[in-house]
Every structure is written in structure tokens, then in C-alpha cells.
């Protein structure tokens, strides 16, 4: 069973993702800030992280991605950026931090579900 960590400061968005993915056999974890995301990622070792960028707190999505990809324990986690930052520069920056996929908000729940389903992790 795939383990997925959803990182977003907006409850509504986390809930949306959770409901979207609830039809599959997945274990869903939640984090509402960068620090929380890093902590959970290291403890629970999820297969996939859906990571927002603009979040309150010390670490934003870029920092989280960079930290996890540098850590040998967590570098294999498949990170999908799920963010409202839709500009090309922002996308490039995310990929440069080691993100494997970049999804721009607003997104289609169906597409996201297809993506997750098709991942071979």
C-alpha cells in the first residue's frame, strides 16, 4: 500500500486531495507546514509527497524538497510539487530542488488521481 504525504497549509486543499485519492488503496498522511512535513517524511518514509510551496513557518516547499532530496534516507521519495506558483521560473526552481513532478493549482482531481495510480513506486 502506497503511503502518501500531503503537505499544504490550506485545510480545504488537503481535504480535497484526500477525498480525491480516497478511492484508491492508499495511506494518507497530512502536514500543514514545512517543519511538520520534514518530520513526518523522516519518520513515516512515504512513497510520495504532494508538496505545496507557499506555506507559513520556517521552511517553505522548496526548502523541504531540497532537504529531503539531500538526505540519503529520504532522497528516493517521489516528490510532486502541488502549488499555485505557476510561473515558468518557479517551476524550474522546483525541479532544480529535486522535485520529480510539478503540478500547478488549480488542478483536476481526476488527473492527479491518474498520475498517482500510474506511478510505479
Amino acid at each position: 500500500m502506497k503511503k502518501i504525504l500531503i503537505v499544504d497549509d490550506e485545510d480545504k486543499v488537503r481535504k480535497l486531495v484526500e477525498v480525491t485519492l480516497s478511492v484508491g488503496k492508499l495511506e494518507i498522511l497530512h502536514a500543514s507546514s514545512g517543519d511538520e512535513a520534514v518530520k513526518i517524511a523522516r519518520e513515516a518514509k512515504p512513497d510520495i509527497i504532494l508538496l505545496d510551496i507557499m506555506m507559513p513557518g520556517r521552511l517553505d516547499g522548496y526548502d523541504v524538497c531540497s532537504l529531503l532530496k539531500k538526505d540519503p534516507d529520504t532522497k528516493d521519495i517521489y516528490i510532486i510539487m502541488l502549488t499555485a506558483k505557476g510561473q515558468q521560473a518557479e517551476k524550474e526552481r522546483g525541479l532544480a530542488m529535486g522535485a520529480d513532478e510539478y503540478f500547478v493549482k488549480p488542478f483536476s482531481p481526476m488527473e492527479l488521481m491518474d498520475k498517482i495510480d500510474n506511478l510505479s513506486v
Partner: protein, 638 residues
């Protein structure tokens, strides 16, 4: 080679003065020398002519010349006697005085009997040979008071004697001896009577005595009208033809003729010898001119000395005279050199009123002008430097200004793109909810509660989206300086407050929003809707940034404005953040505020609206204690 052109002025002046002085000296010397020479000559000439005249008088008083001529005539007459070959009168020096053959006069008699007769003083005769012919000659002494003055020689032809028999020859010889003796005796008597010879001898003697005794006479010559020399100090010359320039000039009628013989140092004076107006001959006297030449050389030497001294004096004088000319020029040259090397304080000395003085004055004026214009140039360049420095400073300042403007622009640009990013994020977040949940509602089989919950989300986010769009439109209007189109009217402040706060009383915010209004507030002149927007914005902020405590809205009169304030007990703001809160897109970035969404435009819009009503907006805040934002509105006037 050094040419005159290249010499210094000093050398030129001295040289020209020197040459001038030498020229003047030589000229004056020459003039005085010639003058002296002429006066000496004149002096000598007058002396000589007086002497000559004296000699002539002495000669003519003896009438000897005329008688001498008679003697010759007598000799020639005797020669015509039959059998006589020739007759000769010879003086005691053996020289022929008169002769049948006139050309022989002056010669030394060739007969060997003549010296014998002169020496012994008695009659001598015998055979002899004359001019290639055999003659019988008889020599008879001419005596006066036992002094032999000369001799008389008579020669007889021997042709008849030689043709005769020896017997006849003896007879003929006897006769010849007798005849000749008679003839000679008679002739000598007649000659003695004539005193001719005596006088002749006297002339010669006078000549001799004059030349030997007189220091000034070195040569005397007396010539007859046939230019034959009758008497001369040099006996060898007596009887010779005197063919010289002086004698010929006198023969041609000149009264006097003088010549100088520099080599012999002699002054020759020729004068005619006249007896009773009759031209008889020439007297030529050579005077000793040693004195003359000595004087002349003395004058010459003295002149040279004077000239030399003059030249020396001239050299000294030319230095003296040239100094006042040269010195100022020298000084001027020195000053010019120093001036040219940059010492502008140098001045020439103005000593005289001449051209050099004028030049010096003009030069000084020039130096002064030069110094002044240099000062001006220096001053100008200083001013220029200052100007350049000031301009540079101004440029730097304006550059700085430009830089700061550029920075501001860049900042503004950054702020703008950041705003775009924020705006995009703020728009996308509600859109995500709208799109996501609506898709779920459409595609998933959901429970009734789920549907209701999701529709509630959609409604909330729609309101939020609407507000964001309103803010963005407002700020866009402000940005493009467009008028909001305020509709101002008299509004009751209490009413304004109550109307807008009422909206929150129903909402579940967990806190109270209370109002406190002063009594008898005047009406304000505002657009009620826009001021309401400002008020709601402030209350929203207070709710967003505070967790507990009442939010108090007050209306009160201060000075000439009605003030409305919104006070909370929220997180507050730092003093550093306060000045920026009314800037567009500014948001306080703190951990507590991170989850609070907003565009950073609310206060900016509020400030604009208040100020557009000629009002003022103020803020007071303290971290952890809360924030109070107040705005003053103008009172309505009828």
C-alpha cells in the same frame, strides 16, 4: 666662420666706433702732415730762392759771363790766322776754358806740355799731335801777380814744314818758335788785360767755396745760354751739357723751378741768370734738405704717436660710450631669458629716456600684462576647476538620484512581480477549491452531508475570490490614477459606524465588535459606501491579526475633523514595519501572519480613499499589545 652678423651688439658698437675713430685719426694726421710738409717746403723754397738770388747778384756783379764770351770770340778770331791749327785757353786745373773747337770746352787738355807749364810756370813748346795731325805746339803761362791762372796753347800746322828740305825745316822751326812765342805772349797780355781768365777762375772758386763752406748748399751748377756747364762743384761736370728738367724749364722761360730729391735729401732750385735783362744762363743750386726730411719724419712720428694715443683713447671712450647702450640691453636680454623661463616677477630697469628706456618700459608693460593674463588664466582655471568639481558633484548627486530612482524602479518592479506571484497564488488557492470540489461533486457519488460541506467550501472561496478581485480592481484604479467616482454627501458618523459594524455582529468570529460614538457629532462629507469599505477593511484586519479581545470602533471629534478609530488587542506591529504598512503589496512577514492570506492592498486602498476625501489616516501599534488605526474625515459644510 664668425661673421659680423653673429657678433654681439657690444662688439659691433665697439668695432664701429673703433673704426670711425681710427679713420678720423688717420685723416687728421694726414691733413696735418700734408699741411706741415707744405709749410716746410714753402719755407725752404723761400730760403733757397733768396740764396739763389744772392748768388746770382754776386755772379752778375762781376760781369764775368760777358767777358768769358769775349774770350771765346777772341780765341776763334786768332784761330783764323794763317798757319795756326788751333788756340786753347786752359785754367790752372788743366781744363779747357775756351778753344777753337768749341766742343772741347770743359775738357781736360790732352797736351803733355800743359801740366808742365802750369807746374813750372814757364814757356814750353815742341812737336805734338792734335786730332790726328802733326802740329808744333807752344804753351805759355798766364800769370797775374806771379800766380798762374792758367795757360795758353797755340798749335801751328806742320804741312809746309814737312814738305821742306831738312835745311829749310830748321829755318821754319826757328820761325815757328819765334812766331808762336810772340803770339802767345801778345795773346796772354791781351787776355790778362781782359781779366777774363781771372774772373772765370773766380766763378769756379766761388762755386767751390760756397759748396765746401756752406752747410746748406750741397751742389751748385752754373750753365751758359748754350746749356754748357760753366762752373760746378763737381769739376768733372764743367763743360758738359746740362740736360736736366730744371735747366730746360728755365730755358723755356720759367722764373723758378724747384725739385726734391728724396734719396739725396736735396732741394734743387733752378733760376735764370740775367744780366741787364739779357738772358745769360741758369743757376742751379742744390740745398741740403736733411733738416726738412728730419722734420718731416719727426712730424710723422709725432703724428703717429698722437694717432696711437687717439686710438687708445678711442677704445677706452668707445667702451665708456657703449656701456650705457649695451648694459640696459644686456639686462633686458637677461630679463627676457628669465621671463621666458617662467619668472614673471622679473622687470627691466628703466634708466634712460632713450629708445632702450622706451623699450624697457614697453617690455615691463608687456611683462606686467603677461603676469596679469597668467593670473587671469590661473584664476580662470581655478574657477573652471571649481565649476568642474561642482558639476561633477551635481552629476554625482543626480547619478545617485538616478541610481536611487533606478533602485526604486527595480524595487517597484520586484514588488510588482512579487505581487503578481502573490495575486496569482491568492487567485489560484480559491480556484483550486472551486475547481476541485466542483469536479468531485460532479464525478463522485457523495453523501448529502459531503455535498453540503463541499458546496459550503465553494461558497466561502467564491466570496474570498470576489473580494480579491475587488481589491485588485481598486488598486488597478489607483495605479492608473482613475477617479473612483466618489459621490459625497452629508453622512451621520454614528450611522456610518453602526451600519458597517452590524455586518460582523452576526458572523461567528468569537469576539465582539463594539462601537463608541461621541454625542452631537457633526455630519461628515463623504462617500458612505467607500468609507464603509475602509471601515470594514480595518475591522477585517483586526479580526485577522488578533485572537482575543474586543474590537472597538470609535467615532469622535478632534480639531476640525470627525475621527473613526478601530482598536484591537492583536499581535501588533513593530516600529520598523509601521512606516510601510500603507505601501502597496506590503505584508508583515512573521510566523504568526504566514497563514493569514491577503494581498497587502487593503491599507493602501484605505489610505487612498481617506486622503481622497481630504482626510488623514494614522496608525499606532505595539507588538503583542494591539493596533489602533484611525482616520479623520472632513465635516460637512452647507
Amino acid at each position: 666662420m664668425l661673421s659680423i652678423k653673429d657678433m654681439g651688439i657690444r662688439t659691433k658698437v665697439i668695432a664701429s666706433m673703433f673704426i670711425l675713430l681710427v679713420f678720423i685719426g688717420l685723416l687728421s694726421f694726414w691733413v696735418s702732415y700734408m699741411h706741415e710738409k707744405k709749410s716746410l717746403l714753402t719755407n725752404m723754397q723761400s730760403n733757397a730762392s733768396i740764396l739763389n738770388r744772392a748768388l746770382i747778384i754776386s755772379l752778375t756783379s762781376r760781369k764775368s759771363i760777358g767777358e768769358k764770351v769775349n774770350l771765346q770770340t777772341l780765341v776763334e778770331e786768332l784761330s783764323l790766322t794763317e798757319g795756326v791749327f788751333g788756340v786753347w785757353v786752359i785754367d790752372n786745373s788743366g781744363r779747357i776754358t775756351s778753344a777753337t773747337f768749341r766742343e772741347q770746352v770743359g775738357e781736360v787738355a790732352s797736351s803733355r806740355m800743359v801740366p808742365e807749364c802750369i807746374q813750372k810756370g814757364y814757356y814750353v813748346s815742341g812737336f805734338d799731335s792734335k786730332m790726328g795731325e802733326e802740329v808744333y805746339a807752344a804753351v805759355y803761362p798766364l800769370k797775374k801777380e806771379d800766380q798762374i791762372l792758367g795757360v795758353l796753347e797755340v798749335a801751328f800746322e806742320l804741312r809746309e814744314y814737312l814738305r821742306s828740305t831738312p835745311k829749310d825745316q830748321t829755318l821754319l822751326l826757328e820761325q815757328m818758335k819765334r812766331d808762336s812765342r810772340i803770339m802767345a805772349e801778345s795773346l796772354s797780355y791781351s787776355i790778362k788785360n781782359m781779366r777774363d781768365v781771372n774772373e772765370l777762375i773766380h766763378i769756379q772758386r766761388l762755386v767751390d767755396r760756397l759748396t765746401t763752406e756752406s752747410e746748406i748748399i750741397s751742389q751748385i751748377m752754373i750753365v751758359d745760354d748754350n746749356i754748357r756747364i760753366i762752373a760746378a762743384n763737381d769739376l768733372n761736370r764743367v763743360g758738359m751739357i746740362a740736360d736736366d728738367k730744371g735747366v730746360r724749364a728755365i730755358m723755356d722761360g720759367a722764373g723758378i723751378y724747384t725739385r726734391l730729391f728724396p734719396r739725396q735729401k736735396m732741394y734743387m732750385v733752378d733760376m735764370p741768370l740775367k744780366i741787364g735783362g739779357e738772358f745769360e744762363g741758369v743757376v742751379s743750386v742744390g740745398y741740403d734738405a736733411t733738416d726738412y726730411y728730419t722734420h718731416l719724419s719727426e712730424i710723422f712720428e709725432f703724428g703717429l704717436l698722437i694717432s696711437g694715443m687717439g686710438i687708445l683713447l678711442g677704445i677706452v671712450l668707445s667702451f665708456q660710450v657703449s656701456n650705457p647702450i649695451i648694459k640696459p640691453l644686456h639686462r633686458l636680454t637677461e630679463v627676457t631669458k628669465r621671463l621666458a623661463s617662467g619668472d614673471l616677477s622679473e622687470r627691466a630697469t628703466v634708466g634712460s629716456r632713450d629708445e632702450v628706456g622706451t623699450l624697457s618700459r614697453a617690455f615691463n608693460q608687456m611683462a606686467l600684462d603677461l603676469a596679469r593674463s597668467k593670473d587671469e588664466i590661473d584664476q580662470y582655471s581655478k574657477t573652471l576647476e571649481q565649476k568642474v568639481r561642482r558639476r561633477t558633484r551635481e552629476l554625482e548627486i543626480s547619478n545617485q538620484e538616478l541610481r536611487s530612482i533606478q533602485n526604486e524602479l527595480m524595487e517597484a518592479n520586484m514588488v510588482k512581480s512579487e505581487f503578481m506571484s502573490i495575486a496569482s497564488h491568492e487567485l489560484r488557492t480559491p480556484l483550486t477549491t472551486l475547481l476541485g470540489y466542483s469536479e468531485l461533486l460532479l464525478t463522485r457519488p457523495l453523501t448529502k452531508d459531503q455535498k453540503k460541506e463541499f458546496l459550503g467550501f465553494i461558497n466561502e472561496e467564491s466570496i474570498r475570490l470576489s473580494k480579491i478581485v475587488d481589491d485588485l480592481l481598486d488598486i488597478s484604479r489607483i495605479e492608473s490614477q482613475k477617479d473612483f467616482g466618489f459621490v459625497k454627501e452629508p453622512v451621520q458618523p454614528a450611522e456610518l459606524l453602526a451600519k458597517n459594524v452590524k455586518f460582523y455582529s452576526g458572523a461567528d468570529i468569537g469576539r465582539r465588535v463594539v462601537t463608541e460614538t461621541e454625542a452631537n457629532l457633526p455630519l461628515v462629507n463623504v462617500d458612505a459606501a467607500k468609507i464603509g469599505q475602509v471601515l470594514k477593511n480595518l475591522v477585517d484586519n483586526s479580526i485577522k491579526y488578533s485572537i482575543v479581545g474586543d474590537i472597538v470602533c470609535r467615532a469622535f471629534l478632534r480639531l476640525d475633523m470627525v475621527w473613526i478609530s478601530v482598536q484591537d488587542q492583536g499581535i501588533g506591529m513593530s516600529q520598523e514595519d509601521l512606516p510601510h504598512i500603507f505601501n502597496k503589496f506590503f505584508r508583515v512577514e512573521r510566523e504568526e501572519t504566514a497563514h493569514i492570506s491577503g494581498t497587502g492592498l487593503g491599507l493602501s486602498i484605505a489610505k487612498y480613499i481617506v486622503e481622497s476625501h481630504n482626510g488623514r489616516i494614522d496608525v499606532e501599534s505595539q507588538v503583542g499589545k494591539g493596533t489602533t488605526v484611525s482616520f479623520g474625515l472632513p465635516i460637512w459644510k452647507d
